[in-house]
Symmetry: C2
Subunit: 237 residues, 2 copies
């Protein structure tokens, strides 16, 4: 039924968003204001907003309101350019917050890396921002034998992978990626300032060095429209 009112509403809101985008303040008016303006109810209005959210045109910050979404970030998970580098290269402003570090076993990491389940890891959990919007919550588990003293280092402002190569001479030779569309769970959602159940994209990486020794396992949870994944391959057939 393409003549549903919320479809029409979606198009009208799209125009509004384009106008807002030109302005500084990319925030939409209150739902009640919009509903009144378009002579409909909040339910129908929210249906249209949800539609635009699904397209990645707008997003909401939990209980704060609706905002125009910036263009997605290009991201190549197969390259080890640091987050800071590729965000800056796209004219955006990166920021990283470390939420926690510890040393302990972690079953999924152990299984992915083929280690025994009581293997301990250096664990880093952090949150990353683009232009002051939290877009990524991630956890890394590094095999301590590969990078002794890692947690004493400055693993935030410098690229972690750069350090693994530079300080410990590791070659990140074998990498396995898994990408999956998900609904963000309570913890990640809270860290990213969105409602639980918001659409996300999960990236899991398992890395071995040139001697096939396990190096690292990590899980990334992205706001799903914050990124466009790109991969360039040469001669891998």
């Amino acid at each position: 039924m393409s003549d549903a009112y919320y479809i029409h509403l979606t198009e009208r809101l799209r125009e509004l968003i384009n106008d807002l985008d030109a302005c500084e303040e990319g925030r939409l008016p209150a739902e009640r204001t919009l509903a009144e303006h378009f002579r409909t109810t909040r339910v129908t209005l929210r249906q249209a907003l949800a539609h635009l959210e699904g397209e990645g045109r707008i997003h909401r910050s939990n209980r704060r309101g609706w905002f125009v979404s910036p263009p997605p970030l290009d991201y190549d998970p197969t390259r080890d350019a640091g987050f800071n580098d590729y965000v800056k290269a796209q004219g955006r402003r990166p920021r990283t917050e470390v939420l926690l570090t510890d040393t302990r076993p972690h079953r999924p990491a152990a299984e992915a890396l083929g280690l025994s389940t009581d293997q301990t890891f250096f664990h880093i959990r952090r949150r990353r921002f683009v232009d002051d919007r939290a877009v990524l919550s991630e956890s890394l588990w590094v095999v301590p034998e590969r990078a002794p003293g890692l947690l004493e280092g400055d693993y935030v402002s410098h690229s972690l992978w750069g350090q693994l190569r530079g300080r410990w001479g590791l070659t990140l030779a074998h990498r396995s990626l898994r990408l999956y569309s998900e609904a963000l769970r309570a913890q990640e959602a809270e860290e990213l300032g969105v409602a639980a159940g918001t659409a996300g994209l999960s990236v899991r990486r398992t890395i071995f060095d040139a001697r096939r020794r396990p190096v690292e396992y990590d899980e990334e949870h992205w706001l799903h429209h914050a990124l466009c994944i790109t991969v360039d391959l040469e001669n891998t057939s």
Copy 2:
């Protein structure tokens, strides 16, 4: 607010889904029936269903009802194993329908491949099923000079890439992928039997041969929870 009723409902429905999953018929009862059973309204019930849909536990076929979702398909877009092969390898049943073939210019393909915009292509549009559920709508544009006579061949039951290698001796040496979370547009949604705006995953591929000649460009639109993308890389740092 984790004590919202729809959250509780979500958990109850999750149990119901697990039970249904064991049975043959993976269809949920009617919304009105469920709403009455849980002593709530359809609005609230649908909120819980939408939550589970976002998690990929259930999906709907437009106006037909809600169904338990099967596990996602593992898919490596960097390998050129045919769809039929890797679906079967996972114990699932593949099927392909050709929706249309023609020969004409296509601007996005031309731009991606670095050709002039009046370049014509062999165009194939098809729909692919896993266990009789339509999960993928795709269009391919092949440079005619690379594969003369392609559209007369049996490009359906055999792997297209296999033919490019076998019949025309092409090496698919340089590949560029773009993955993006999207909302399915009217045409793809209709082909997949879902409502427009349903969450999807878009995969775009650009391929050059060993001599860097343009070979093919394609766009895939997947139901977003129908697949888990996996990529294995060796020594690419």
